[in-house]
Amino acid sequence: MNKPTNTPPQPLHPFHNKTIAAGDSSASLKRDARRLARMFHRKCAREDEESSSSDASEGGGRESVGLLFSSNALSRSAANRRGGINHITTGTDGKVTTVGVRTKTKTKRERIHEAVRKMPFLKGSNLLVNEAYMSLVFGGDGEGEDDDDDDDDDDNTPYDYGLNLNDILVDDDYVAVNFNGNSPDSVSGMKKKKLTQEPNQHQHQRERQHQHQHQHQHQHQRQRQNQDQDQDQRQGQRQLHKRTQDPNRFAYSGNNSPRHTQYEALGDPDLDESDSENAGLLRKLHGYDSDSSSDDDDKVVDDPAHEVTGGGTLTAAIFGIIKGTVGPGVLYVPHGFATSGWAFAVPMLIFSLVMFIFSASNLVRCWWYERARFLGEDGDESYSASGLTVDYRAGEEEGLLGTNSQSHSNGDNHNGRKKRTFKSSYPALVLKAFGESGSNWVKVGIMMQQFGIVLIYFIFVPKNLHKVCLDLFDVDVPIKWLVFVMVLIELPLSWLKDIRRLASTNMFANFLILYGLLCCLGFAFLSVGEASDYSDDTGSNSTVVDDDSGERNLEVEVGQLSLFMLRRYPPGCLLTFYPNFSVWGYFFRPTI
């Protein structure tokens, strides 16, 4: 906690003049919300770190009411659709000026009350609501706030932080709260008072909880963002349009130095060591950011991924690998063995295994190098700045479809969204190594590969269905028709722009595949068993016989088979397909 000594001139606050709406679908706003979240994560992580390293109680202070507000509350309100904060507007200094609150309760007062009560960080804070005026004390019991960024010379006394709210606009199911944040009154209205109720240690814990909850809900937020874009956004939308025209909206762009100059050019009021709360807020934020790169590596969670996978454990990664590999492809293996012979097939499998492991290790190593470069190159101080810069530029180029364009992941839905801290992807790494054209080639490669897989599916399914029709109804449906039916099914599905909606069906699909694999193995073992009953030598012959003796196999009772499978495949193997939703969630993030 002793970095702020050499803080660089403060850049424009990233949330300089922004409106962030929980339900808004535009990419830039989503990005802002994510960025808020990221900063919040960093902050929490740092605070955790502080709390563990020293008992410095001042670490528990909420530097940025605004940030906490936005990240946590945004996601939260998006997660439970019943109400909560809907959008947040920030002023030139990045401070929250307006907060839109949406609720679904009955009377105005109740609505406001409930909305405010829902703001998670207000728990236990003083709250006054009457019809036209609401005032609340930020920070509640245990939440201190420092004016200054120099935590070191603070007196370790948390104090409450008063902010006045007025200008409450109430719509049908919508409450907009105008924060008086920028006026000096609010600063002067800040009251310092000693707090005794809650030790800071608890504070930390609570923040950690917030963090976790936030991580879990972030996904919901995204989902919702996609789902009800057009719904109940009246107020928010209005605000939004106003803001979008703001020329300063994208003032925060370019790389590090331009940003500084821009900051100077804009002549933003002194963000120096004055007691302006905003300056303190900013400095803290950036102070935190700057040191995050250097020393949090070994324990701090990498927020984005963490948030995405819920756990982000190795186990989750294992499931991810398995799911990424085992699909219908397995079914081609026996035929492959049959056409090539085991003396070639087995060595070939081993060869490609070795090659794959070699190149996969290379790829991961590239990732590590790039990560180190990304974190290290700009030096400690500008880490956060450059991180944001990367985000921003990528975002601006990409527009609505977001994410997957040039510098970052291409359209592979699986790695579909990369950014925030260090986010990369296969094509992004290729871009680093071989430039634009190389990356384009890789994208073409990915496209062809995926189309190839799809083409195979177009053969695979009709063949299976053909057999099903033959067996069940004794009808020989031409493959053509089955393909046609499949096209009819897949066309609308392909129009989906958000395939996360298919996550649940895909889970179902995984179980079906598991079932299929187990049954195939079961059949195989049954027939091998029978074959070996006759004689070992005539193995291949008797398996041919097997086909003829389909009648007999038909007799195989379900119970017998399942018993058999249970014996051979203890339920433990089910674990292989353990439904790790979070990992799937990771795969299905096309647009973010």
């Binding site: 590596d297 454990t313 190795l314 989750a316 990664a317 991810g320 690998i321 079914l331 081609y332 026996p334 049959a338 097939a345 070939m348 490609s352 090659m355 794959f356 070699f358 190149s359 996969a360 790829l363 990732w367 699986h414 260090f422 992807s425 296969y426 994208k443 490669g445 990915i446 496209m447 062809m448 590969q449 995926q450 897989i453 083409l455 599916y457 399914v461 009709p462 057999k467 099903v468 046609f484 096209v487 897949e490 066309l491 392909s494 989906l496 298919l502 069906t505 079906l512 079932y515 195939c520 193995l521 059949f523 091998v528 398996t543 041919v544 086909d547 389909g550 379900v558 088979l561 299905f588």
Partner: protein, 225 residues
């Protein structure tokens, strides 16, 4: 249980194809691992898991081959002995693939629709922005074309699998990451040589396997005619 058959080269592509899209998943998975220590362990885990999976493939392949015989279909499920269970398996796989389809299709469609932006610009004028409708149109076109291709190629599934694996899988999975390693990671001279060897080996395999597959495919077509 022959040792080697005449169509052995088909398995080169198939073996690569088995790693379907895993290579593009690696970076996201690596990033998804939360803590630094676990991140470090990821590569090792990956090796172990992949080895286990391949072992399972080999096991599965051999067991199913021995039990269903040499004329096992490319799509194994259609070779199962008739019966209710077999039918459910086929149905299950069909449904599963129907659901997986959009997921596999999505990245390709994304790339395609973005790449078709200049086309829109030229044909329709305007900014050429890829709207939902245009995207849907591109997707539909791609799907219809693919389905037509599928109808035409129904009986050549094994060749297609092999060709895709050899021609697209090998460069994507083997060659490019290794080249990238040489470029980005500043390896030692010895490692550079090793990388080069691997790249060359991959290229040779790719060219050879693709060519042989195409040639034999062609020959098969001739035969049928």
């Amino acid at each position: 249980m022959d040792k080697i058959k005449k169509d052995w080269y088909l398995f080169i592509g198939t073996a690569v194809f088995l790693f379907e899209g895993l290579i593009t998943l690696l970076v996201p998975l690596q990033e998804a691992v939360a803590t630094y220590q676990d991140k470090l362990k990821f590569v090792h885990t990956l090796r172990v898991v992949i080895t286990a999976i391949v072992a399972f493939y080999a096991f599965f392949g051999i067991v199913c081959w021995t039990s269903f015989g040499d004329d096992v279909n490319t799509v194994l499920t259609t070779s199962l002995p008739d019966g209710l269970i077999a039918t459910t398996v086929q149905l299950a796989y069909s449904v599963a693939v129907l659901f997986t389809f959009p997921l596999q299709n999505f990245p390709a469609l994304e790339i395609l629709s973005r790449a078709s932006k200049p086309v829109f610009k030229r044909v329709l004028g305007g900014s050429g922005k890829v709207t939902s409708k245009r995207r849907a149109a591109v997707s539909s076109l791609a799907i219809v074309l693919l389905s037509q291709a599928a109808v035409a190629l129904t009986n050549d599934l094994d060749h297609i699998v092999s060709l895709i694996g050899a021609f697209f899988g090998i460069p994507m999975a083997f060659i490019i990451p290794t080249m990238m390693h040489s470029k980005l990671c500043d390896p030692s001279p010895g490692r550079k040589v090793l990388n080069k060897c691997v790249v060359i080996l991959g290229l040779v395999t790719m060219v050879a396997a693709s060519t042989v597959t195409v040639i034999s495919w062609n020959a098969k077509k001739e035969e049928e005619r």
